[in-house]
């Protein structure tokens, strides 16, 4: 059910019932994107609370051009990325991917750890890789939008995305029902 203008107006006036109605309807989706981006559940809860304060603070600027959920989602992504920068997570974007690449060897111990879900697998990614994967493959942002949001190039966003996918492929092997390839060699592209 869409949030109507009367509820929004009452929420702007500070009416608790109206504020709670908006939170009840949209918290599952808003908090989910925060959790996917942040990873750690405790940190995600703190960030999500800050996101909701920002959503309600920005309520007078909501014009109804987009659906309320879409509008709140944009605020959630922006505020979460800001929080991750404050936590110096995204600052390690490039190095995070490089550290991640060290574990490309298929014989490392990680192959024995298989994630039960994409959410669980995401917690195993480096912060930068997780951010790019969530924004692109889950939330549908383009590489240009991701690059603008994270201060990287779109080429860098693609590179990190593909590395993140490759790692998730290993972590979720059992979910996609693909046989393992012991001794396989993945080298340079075939020319």
């Amino acid at each position: 059910m869409a949030i109507d203008q009367v509820t929004i107006r009452r929420a702007i006036d500070g009416d608790e019932q109206a504020l709670r109605a908006i939170w009840t309807q949209h918290a599952p989706a808003v908090d989910a994107v925060v959790r996917r981006l942040v990873g750690d559940p405790d940190e995600a809860a703190d960030v999500a609370q800050d996101v909701w304060i920002q959503i309600f603070r920005a309520l007078p600027t909501y014009r109804g051009d987009a659906a309320f959920g879409t509008w709140a989602h944009r605020i959630a992504v922006n505020r979460t990325l800001n929080a991750l920068r404050r936590l110096r997570r995204i600052g390690r974007l490039e190095t995070g991917i490089e550290e991640d690449s060290v574990a490309v060897d298929p014989d490392d111990g990680e192959r024995s750890w298989l994630a039960g879900s994409i959410d669980q697998a995401l917690t195993r990614l480096a912060p930068g890789a997780r951010t790019v994967f969530v924004l692109h493959d889950v939330e549908g942002y383009t590489h240009e939008e991701i690059a603008a949001a994270l201060g990287i190039t779109s080429g860098g966003s693609k590179s990190q995305l593909f590395k993140a996918r490759a790692k998730l492929r290993r972590l979720l092997a059992h979910l996609v029902d693909s046989p393992s390839h012991q001794g396989s060699t993945h080298a340079a592209p075939v020319c």
């Binding site: 009367v6 006036d13 809860a45 549908g140 593909f162 492929r169």
Partner: protein, 234 residues
């Protein structure tokens, strides 16, 4: 046999392979399977955006934080109800003022020998029902009608005079000021009511009409001032 790199296979989850890559995928079951697996993961990832789960936040902790920020007003519900009740009282009084103003406009038209404004009576439900194909169409017609109504009301207000036989100076100015005060009250009350009912067509109509009439009256007041005086504010 060399295969496509893990990252290239990840890219091919949604990208089109080159001719050479396509030929390899045709011949290599392993790479073709990997590409299909990546595509499956991509589909699952997209579905994650719609997966509903329990929220991280709890209202019991969020509400006090909102109150600290001044975003949640304790007792706000009661205050809103009180404001709404006051607004309804003033709205009834303002409606009475508008009826008097509107009645004066109509009386002016009649005295000038002009036919009454068409469509003043409530439209028959049956005729209104078949006239519009959608709500959007009806709202568009209402918008046009409001613009015409405002323009016509402003024109008529500009044509009318506060009363016959009044001296053009002191008494006329006082009459204009009385009218402006009434119109300001109407505009203020209807504007407040629009916070609760922003799409109500009747409240919108009264609000816009009061603004149009106020503007016309200010212009008329400006032309009625004695020589050497000008209207600075009202």
């Amino acid at each position: 046999m060399l295969h496509l790199s893990a990252e290239r296979l990840a890219a091919l989850a949604e990208a089109e392979p080159t001719a050479l890559e396509a030929a390899h995928l045709e011949a290599c079951h392993r790479c073709a399977t990997e590409r299909a697996a990546h595509h499956q993961l991509l589909v699952r990832a997209g579905a994650e955006a719609h997966r509903i789960s329990a929220p991280l936040t709890r209202w019991e902790t969020l509400a006090p934080a909102l109150a600290d920020e001044g975003l949640l007003v304790s007792g706000g519900r009661r205050r809103s109800a009180r404001v709404s009740r006051l607004s309804r009282v003033w709205l009834r009084r303002a409606a009475a003022v508008v009826v008097l103003v509107g009645g004066g406009v109509a009386a002016g038209r009649l005295s000038a020998g002009v036919a009454p404004l068409p469509g003043l009576g409530a439209p028959a439900a049956a005729s209104a029902a078949g006239r519009f194909a959608s709500q959007d169409e009806a709202l568009e017609a209402l918008g046009r009608a409001e613009r015409d109504y405002r323009a016509a009301a402003a024109f008529l207000a500009a044509q009318s005079r506060p009363a016959d036989g009044l001296e053009p100076d002191g008494a006329a100015l006082e009459a204009y000021q009385t009218r402006l005060a009434a119109l300001d009250e109407v505009a203020s009350v209807t504007r407040a009511a629009l916070y609760d009912a922003p799409h109500d067509p009747v409240i919108n109509q009264y609000y816009l009409a009061s603004l149009g009439a106020r503007e016309a009256t200010l212009r008329q007041l400006g032309t009625s001032l004695p020589a050497g005086q000008q209207l600075n504010r009202f």
